[in-house]
């Protein structure tokens, strides 16, 4: 089945060559090879590209909704299944517990995903379980789970390449997948990470270029822009931090979250005319 996936034009036309495996109808012979070094004039542009997101949706055919986000070199793919039959446990009764949908998040790094850690095992380890529960706590405030009683929504998040800031990118990707699935949400949830090496004083935005070291503190903030509420916050400290420093770092995260919110919203609006087109054909 030949589906024309819409390519959004508002981000980095130079980046398209990296996504050819996922998009139909592009001639791979006409593309620059991976070993080509960029011209000196475009070095600054490449840095700017590292700070922009690449969004794509409807990548996985058999799911209700899916999303793919690239941020620098970090690549995350999310797929949503649901609403499906809820898991029944011994403690579940037919009353209050079933009045909202259950959101279940599965988060996994692909075995080849990590630059530093080498090959990652098939079973989720502690970091991945923690990321899954962070994603669940972050997306639940924004989803209208009360509109889908007696059901379950499963979100599978696969990190294809982790070059830094992968938890924030996963939040953005999960939000995109949930919108693609047509689930009602109060607001888009977008996230950003700032990091600071031990002993430094400035917080820098973490981008997907593999430059963050293990020895730096990081603050990840998930923010809902229209509601002006924090959906989730995670601090991983490599050294003891003053509380006001942590609060200041959260405030610094607010602007990148807002910018990601605008670009995600614009991407989704740009996708609308294509949906109308395919609906008429079907």
């Amino acid at each position: 089945r030949n589906s024309q996936l819409p390519i959004s034009d508002h981000v980095m036309p130079l980046d398209r060559y990296r996504n050819t495996a996922l998009v139909d109808g592009i001639d791979v012979r006409a593309l620059p090879l991976a070993g080509d070094s960029p011209a000196p004039a475009s070095q600054g542009k490449q840095q700017q590209q590292q700070q922009q997101h690449w969004f794509q949706r409807r990548l996985v055919q058999d799911t209700v909704g899916s999303g793919y986000v690239e941020f620098g070199d970090t690549k995350v793919l999310c797929s949503v299944h649901g609403p499906i039959e809820p898991k029944r446990s011994v403690l579940t009764d037919a009353g209050a517990e079933q009045s909202r949908a259950q959101l279940q998040v599965y988060y996994k790094l692909a075995p080849f995903a990590s630059h530093q850690a080498g090959r990652v095992s098939y079973l989720p380890d502690e970091t991945e379980r923690r990321a899954a529960s962070f994603l669940q706590d972050t997306l639940a405030p924004s989803l209208r789970l009360d509109r889908l009683p007696k059901s379950r929504i499963e979100l599978h998040c696969l990190v294809l390449e982790d070059a830094g800031c992968c938890l924030a990118t996963a939040v953005n990707c999960a939000c995109l997948a949930l919108v693609d699935a047509g689930l009602e949400m109060y607001d888009l949830v977008t996230a950003a990470t700032v990091c600071r090496p031990v002993g430094a004083t400035d917080w820098q935005l973490e981008v997907g270029d593999g430059s963050n070291s293990c020895g730096s503190s990081s603050v990840t903030l998930a923010y809902m822009r229209s509601l002006r509420q924090v959906a989730g916050m995670l601090v991983e400290a490599a050294e003891p931090l003053q509380p006001r420093v942590v609060s200041a770092a959260c405030r610094i995260c607010e602007d990148p979250c807002k910018m990601t919110h605008s670009s995600l919203r614009q991407f989704l609006l740009d996708c609308l005319p294509a949906d109308d087109r395919t609906a008429k054909i079907a």
């Binding site: 403690l91 502690e126 923690r130 995670l234 601090v235 991983e236 003053q242 509380p243 942590v246």
Partner: protein
């Protein structure tokens, strides 16, 4: 624990009026007991009971780092012997067991979450020999992280040599829940099921944060989050004072 809607509303409304269902103040902890040195084969052990929440922690230090290397399958060559001479710093390894509560998925999730939080609490702590902290949950009535961190830090203070501890003060958790517009600490299980969001802060004895995370299916405003962090730091400093006095009295 299942709560009906009127019960949930009752707890919510009374907390708004700063009255908790067991009559405590909003920012008051339950009566806590700390016992040390219960287990013979552990390097150090501690048990904390915070209301009905009961946590037993055992800290074991591997006596012979060479033995551990042999168990991992390294050969007895000259190179391996030379490597054992170098000082190696190990992170603290934490394991949480909730099997006393049952073996369902909710209990497993509680254990996983507690393990992730406590590992991040002791991330900055490095020891010359491998140290294993095993946390056994004997009873649960809310506020697992605070109780487990008190027990684990008290046991680690007994187990580790003073030279290591003077440079690094052992941190404690304080969890602040938000119900409506009120903040409460040390929530029991019923209050936890009514709470919208919580902030867990890991604070060392100098008042600095070593871990901080929001959890729960609710969202918070920036100002609320900052206030909850400040409350958590204050409460953790109070816990530090109490634990230090208790441990000094035992010694």
């Amino acid at each position: 624990q299942l709560l009906s809607e009127p019960e949930r509303q009752y707890i919510f409304d009374s907390v708004q009026d700063a009255v908790r269902i067991d009559g405590r103040q909003c920012l008051a902890y339950r009566q806590a007991a700390l016992r040390l040195d219960l287990l013979c084969y552990a390097t150090a052990s501690a048990q904390v009971s915070l209301g009905e929440t009961d946590v037993l922690v055992s800290v074991r230090e591997e006596d012979n780092p060479g033995a551990t290397a042999q168990q991992q399958g390294s050969t007895g060559s000259v190179v391996a012997a030379a490597q054992q001479q170098q000082p190696v710093s190990h992170p603290v390894s934490v394991w949480v067991d909730c099997s006393c509560l049952g073996s369902g998925p909710e209990q497993q999730q509680l254990a996983d979450e507690a393990q992730a939080h406590l590992s991040s609490l002791y991330r900055c702590l490095r020891t010359p020999t491998p140290v294993f902290v095993d946390i056994l949950l004997l009873g649960y009535d809310g506020d697992l992280l605070d109780a487990a961190s008190i027990a684990a830090s008290a046991a680690l203070m007994r187990a580790l040599p003073a030279s290591l501890l003077s440079a690094q003060a052992l941190p404690l958790f304080a969890t602040v829940h938000r119900i409506g517009s009120q903040q409460i600490v040390d929530a029991n299980q019923l209050e936890e099921s009514c709470s919208m969001a919580r902030v867990t802060v890991g604070v060392d004895s100098n008042g600095r944060l070593v871990a901080c995370q929001t959890c729960g299916e609710g969202s918070l405003q920036f100002e609320s989050m900052t206030e909850m962090i400040e409350t958590g730091v204050r409460k953790a400093m109070m816990l530090h004072d109490s634990v230090a006095k208790l441990v000094a009295r035992v010694l």
